[in-house]
Amino acid sequence: MRKGFLEFPVLLIIAAEATYAPDILKQLKKANLIVVEGTLYPLLSRLKRYELVEYKWQESKTGPPRKMYSITPAGKEVLAQLEKSWQTLDTSITTLIHKTETNI
């Protein structure tokens, strides 16, 4: 899986609700996006640096305090653009696929 692409799904997960890293990982795995956990932390810190996400510390009963990530207004904008370009790309690819199918 190309890591440069991972920002998109991670932003989608965080936009849905505030989550922390292990939950993000679980959801990615559920969506069949196989990731090594190690790649997630630098990615999150990068998103935070670009101010697309922010986090709040949350106490945990069982372990160390957790960083709950949530999306920022800037992050929402980027996400909207990403979705838009994804859909355009998706339609173009689908048309191409259908074309080749009809040709065959």
Binding site: E37, G38, Y41, P42, R46, P64
Partner: protein, 398 residues
């Protein structure tokens, strides 16, 4: 039986087996290395540590649970290899990059393969040769004034022993990877058996050695502390000394050149006026300034190098500066010789004349004939053309 350690990771305290601890430390260390160019490195490491803590908690089987090396290996496989953390891993399946390919080999004493203090084996590791050769060299050197013995003792004092896993790798010049660490830690268990065998083989020395090892450990700490104190003292001494002289030099030149010079003797004033009134004199003044400036700057850099504990001189810069200095020195030398002649003639014709007089004596005595004889004729010519010719010419006859 296994030794356990208490650690605090992600603000949770765990009991962990020594072996597992070594692996974990090496793993975190290599992650730090692979993300060292990331600005958020410390934050990411913090995130990873709390992730590790959570994973340990999940595995916590009972209150008196100690983290084993199996637990650590599992956690590491879940988290991924150190290379996955680096920014360079963003490209899929790119060539297996080596994020820290420049591993600096460092000189350590190898305490695990030591006959006396591990100096020979440490040197052998550094130069990638068999320790036997180094030991033979040291043994042979005993017959040559025992110089090797002194060198050995000094090295034992100054060179630190490789103690942590990372140091042991630096000694061998190998890269720290998780697999290697795990292998090493496992190998250690085998080494213990051979170690005990080795010890029983050298019975008497085996009894004495620990005493010496302890003694030298203490002496070594003292020697290294003294060395670093000396280094700082020397470094700061050089820095302050050269900075002060630099300030002195600059203020001296600026006072001489910029003030009205009334406070210096009249002779010196005329001398300066003469030098400043012709281009050669100005060259002499400025080149002598550069000539004195460069060594002071070099001394400052030496001082800084001592304090910073690394060599701040680069070859290309040193050569450039040296060339500039030589040019300045030659310029200053030649031009000021010419100036001195001129100045003396104006300020004190008698001295100038007596100088010439002595030149004649020198010729009579047969000392330094060649150089003096060459100097004499042009001086005479100049005197003839100068306004005070009569006076000057009269003097030697007196």
């Amino acid at each position: 039986m296994k030794k356990v350690i208490n650690i605090n990771i992600g603000s949770v305290v765990f009991v962990i087996e020594q072996e597992a601890y070594d692996i974990l430390v090496a793993y975190l260390e290599s992650i730090k290395q692979s993300i060292s160019d990331n600005d958020d490195a410390s934050e990411i490491v913090g995130d990873i540590e709390s992730a590790i803590a959570e994973k340990f908690l999940v595995r916590k089987r009972s209150e008196k649970f100690a983290v084993t090396s199996d637990d650590v290996s599992e956690v590491i496989t879940e988290l991924g290899s150190p290379a996955d953390f680096g920014e360079g891993a963003d490209e899929i399946h790119s060539e297996p990059t080596e994020p820290n390919s420049e591993i600096k080999k460092r000189l350590y004493r190898d305490a695990e393969d030591a006959v006396i203090g591990g100096v020979a084996s440490g040197l052998a590791r550094y130069f990638d040769i068999d320790p036997v050769f180094v030991r033979i060299l040291f043994a042979v050197s005993i017959f040559f004034n025992g110089i090797g013995v002194v060198a050995y003792l000094l090295l034992w004092l100054i060179v630190p022993a490789a103690e942590t896993t990372a140091q042991k790798y630096a000694m061998r010049g190998e890269k720290v990877t998780v697999i290697q660490i795990t292998e090493r830690v496992k190998k250690k268990i085998d080494e213990v058996d051979t170690d005990t065998l080795k010890k029983s083989a050298r019975n008497t020395w085996g009894g004495l050695r620990p005493v010496f090892v302890k003694l030298f450990a203490v002496l070594g700490i003292l020697a290294r502390a003294l060395l670093s104190i000396f280094r700082y003292a020397l470094g700061f001494g050089l820095l302050f000394g050269s900075a002060l002289s630099l300030a002195g030099l600059i203020s001296m030149y600026s006072i001489i050149l910029l003030s009205d010079k009334t406070f210096i003797p009249a002779d010196a004033q005329t001398a300066l006026d003469i030098m400043l009134s012709n281009s050669l004199g100005i060259v002499a003044i400025s080149s002598s300034f550069v000539m004195m400036l460069i060594p002071l700057l070099a001394l400052m850099l030496v001082g800084r190098s001592f304090v910073a504990k690394r060599n701040l001189f680069t070859v290309s810069k040193s050569i450039t500066v040296a060339v500039v200095w030589i040019v300045a020195a030659v310029l200053a030398g030649t031009t000021s010789i010419l100036q001195v002649e001129k100045v003396i003639r104006v300020i004190d014709p008698e001295v100038y004349e007596s100088g010439q007089y002595q030149l004649h004596i020198n010729i009579d005595n047969g000392h330094g004939i060649e150089i003096d004889a060459e100097l004499t004729p042009p001086i005479e010519e100049e005197i003839m053309s100068s306004p005070s010719t009569d006076e000057v010419l009269d003097l030697p006859t007196n």
